[in-house]
Symmetry: C2
Subunit: 229 residues, 2 copies
DNA sequence: ACCTGAACACCGTTCAAGT
DNA sequence: ACCTGAACACCGTTCAAGT
């Protein structure tokens, strides 16, 4: 990934895209703390001030990562489908994009309304919710809460990613399981009994299936209580 | 809040509690970035290395903040109540504690299972969910997702807190509303129509009421699909 | 037991300057 | 247009030392 500074004396100019992509790769492999102006610059064989020509500051660089993630979310067109199936598709599309980037997903949390792709996503969710019969205000509230929840499902995934570092992931999961299992059974009967699922429940697809069911079921329940038009 | 270094020549020794409390106050008033070993130390009229006697490092200090927050969550005893009402009480209790600390709440996200008070909370949620008929595995998954969602509802609250800085809050909300309202109405019909609720929906209690309804409704829907015992 | 002083490696940002 | 060099203020951490 790193571009040695010696092997290409005539480097082509950086682009915002390249910078954002290497920042995202850094977040994926070493976490958000590793996303540093200086380290990103080093990846490109450039001094760290070079990035300030492309971004006004680090905050704008992080905005760029969030925008990049939002832009990848493609909600499949499903014109003939019911609103609740379309909602499920939309939530799945978000999860599919964010899951590989548990560290960087954090950056999307406060940036939905300040990125173009985030606004496009919001627009689509509002459309689905309006179709379900919710008012503009209700749709705004529910869309925000769905975004926050989906993002949190992904960022809540602790430690190293299973995809990037499977053996590191395994070791961390085993350690957590052992710690939970060793707790006082009198004080924590349910925790000790469910030590393994608690420690590793975010690892497999069923975790996200359950999350989608929780959210979609909640929205359906709220829709069912709406006054009939 | 700051303790001048001159006014008490015989300072009583620091305690972890005091350090954690001033760190939390700093997060509340200026955000997580302001929570700095050096600034906390200055609040107490002490050099920054003094904190290293009380904490092994900054990470442990942040653990302390999370622990402190979890410890304040008191789920009311409600022995005779149905499981879904007790679930609602438990979620409300979490929200009540976390809402005043939108910045610091972020710290609780990955620390539920590594803090004593977080484990106590987990135990109580698992108890409620087991009573609803979910298996240990299902309860672990759902409890985790409920935690993540509630925390995200609070941390998603952008900008300055309404309680700590009402006029700053108002100004930020107005700016966001104006920005959303000025978007292209052809591309963003629903966003522009709901500009105000989108920009400020996290401000009032109904936002959190809606969030609780969403989550509780989702869990009820999942419980309703369980095979009858 | 509780805190200080000096030192270190690292960070984001500014500003003038180079090509 | 695109990048460098030097400088600055700030950060977390270590380690030996003080009381």
């Amino acid at each position: 990934m790193a571009r040695a500074s010696g092997d290409d004396r005539q480097r082509e100019p950086l682009s915002r895209q390249e910078i954002v992509r290497s920042a995202l790769a850094l977040a994926d492999s070493e976490g958000l703390d590793a996303v540093t102006v200086r380290r990103i610059a080093a990846e490109h064989g450039v001094t760290h001030m070079a990035l300030y020509w492309h971004f006004r500051g680090k905050e704008q660089l992080l905005d760029g990562i969030a925008e990049y993630l939002f832009a990848q979310i493609e909600i499949p067109p499903a014109a003939g489908e019911s609103w609740d199936r379309r909602l499920l598709f939309a939530l799945s599309a978000m999860l599919a994009v964010l899951r590989p980037h548990p560290a960087a997903a954090q950056l999307t949390q406060g940036r939905v309304l300040s990125s173009d792709a985030g606004l496009r996503l919001t627009e689509q969710f509002l459309g689905i919710l309006r179709e379900a019969g919710f008012s503009g205000e209700q749709s705004a509230v529910i869309a925000t809460q769905l975004f926050m929840s989906v993002i949190a499902f992904v960022t809540g995934h602790p430690g190293p990613s299973r995809l990037d570092d499977p053996e590191g992931y395994e070791a961390a999961a085993r350690t957590r399981t052992a710690l939970l299992g060793a707790l006082d059974q009198a004080r924590f009967p349910n925790v000790t009994a469910a030590a393994a699922p608690l420690a590793r429940c975010t690892e497999d697809a069923s975790y996200y299936d359950s999350g989608l069911e929780l959210l979609a079921g909640g929205v359906r329940a709220m829709a069912a209580r709406l006054p009939q038009p």
